[in-house]
Every structure is written in C-alpha cells, then in structure tokens.
Amino acid sequence: MNKLSTISTRLDEEVLKNIEKLASEMNLDRSALIRKFILDGYHHAMLRKNIELVHDGELSIEQAAERSRVPVNRVIEAAREMNIEIGADASTIEHEKAVLEKHVNKSRN
C-alpha cells in the first residue's frame, strides 16, 4: 500500500456537519468519507481534463482513456455527460468526401 500523508483544510461548519451525517449513514468515519470525496473529485477532474485535451486534438481517445485509467467506453460516456465533442470536426470532411466519391465511382463502374 502507498504511504499516506496528512493534509489539513478548512471547511464550512454546516458542510462538515452534513458530511458527518452522511458518513454515519454510510457507516464510514468522517475522514474516510472526505478521502473518498477527494479521490472521486480527483479522478473526475483528471478525466475531464483529458477529455478536453481530446476535444482540442491534443490527445486521442485511447490516450485519454489510458491517462485517466478508464476504458475507452467510459471516455465516450463521460464526454457525452459533460457535453464535450470528442469526435472529428469538419476539418477532415473534404478528405472523407473524396474517399466517398472514389468509392461511389468505383461501385458505378
């Protein structure tokens, strides 16, 4: 197991009270639940950042999946949930139309 380090942070009392209530309902101690929130938030932020890099054309979909340690399927689903376009844009359309045209002409001959 990796070595754990301690961090300290300040939280609004009302929020802390609600976290304690939720922790008790989930049979977790307060720090375990806060740790879970931080890890979930971290994974979500990493996934979002990598999906944005796919949108910008900096990463491929598989690279984003690998970096986020999730399957390709999860990247596709998360991008849709986040309403981020990760598919090709119109910049390659002329090439694709030329490929289609070539195939149509071939099927006619």
Partner: protein, 171 residues
Amino acid sequence: MKLKFDACSLILSQKLHLLPLLHDTFGTLYITSAVNDEVIKQGNKPESAEKIKEFIDQGLIENIIPRGILLSSLGKGEGETLAETKTQKENGEDAVCVTEDKKAKKEAIRLNLDVLGLDSLLVEAVLLEKMTEDEFDDEILALDKIHKLDITRISELRRFIRIVTNKKRDE
C-alpha cells in the same frame, strides 16, 4: 474494401446495433489485437463486449495481428489500426480506417491513408442503397445522443448525399 475499426468506432457501432448492417454493406470488418484487447478484455461493458465477441465468433469481425509497427503519437489500438491500413494500402488493397478520433484522422490523412468516420461510413451505406436517407437521419440522431457530433460536419455530409443522389438521378 477492407474497413479497419478503432475501439471507439467499434464500440459506437455496437451500441447503435450497426454491425450487421456494416457487415452486409462492406463485408468482413477488421480490428487489430490491441483494439480487441480494449473492447473485449479491458473493462468495456460486459454485455457490449459479449456482443462484439459474438460477432467475432460468427466471422462478421476478424481480429488480425498487425503486420506493421507504427511509431505514432496515438494510443496502441489507433496506432495499430493506422499501421495495418498503411500495410494493406502498400500491398495494393483498398484499405480504409474507420475512426471517430480527430487526432487519429489527421494522422491518417498525413500518412495519405483513406479514413472515414462512422457518420461518413453511414453516408456510404445510403449511397450504396443499403440505408434510406430517413434511416440515416435516425442513426445520426441516435449517434449524437451517445457521442456529441459536430453540426457543420453533419450538414456537409447531408449536402453531399443530396448532391450525389441528384447527380445519379440526372444521369
């Protein structure tokens, strides 16, 4: 024409139940071993992985070991898909890679390979009269629900169908 799918385009085709239509239109569909690993072994949804595995077992999809190694800045599956397309093209085959990924598409174009997206592949199905224009619109809507599409791209493809079908009618 030999179509080689990367993981994303294969997963989306399966989710939209398009694989039988694509097989009927284009013949055997090809994937490389890294794409197979991604969709079957590495945590794709079990029911989806099972369905794709069924298609492989039935011979609709053929899993191939890539013959070339492409050192590229892509993921392993995308890189293998492009490498295999390149090898087949060099061997004089009519090879097309199918990817939804903009980085992979640009890399394919840079390598002078033929590349199509799932949406443009459906355009070809319409032009080959394997799908009606209404069915195309339905599939594009369904695709957009699970994989946000670029509206300019879709209207360009729609316009292309109109031009080709009008031209065909005039002949």
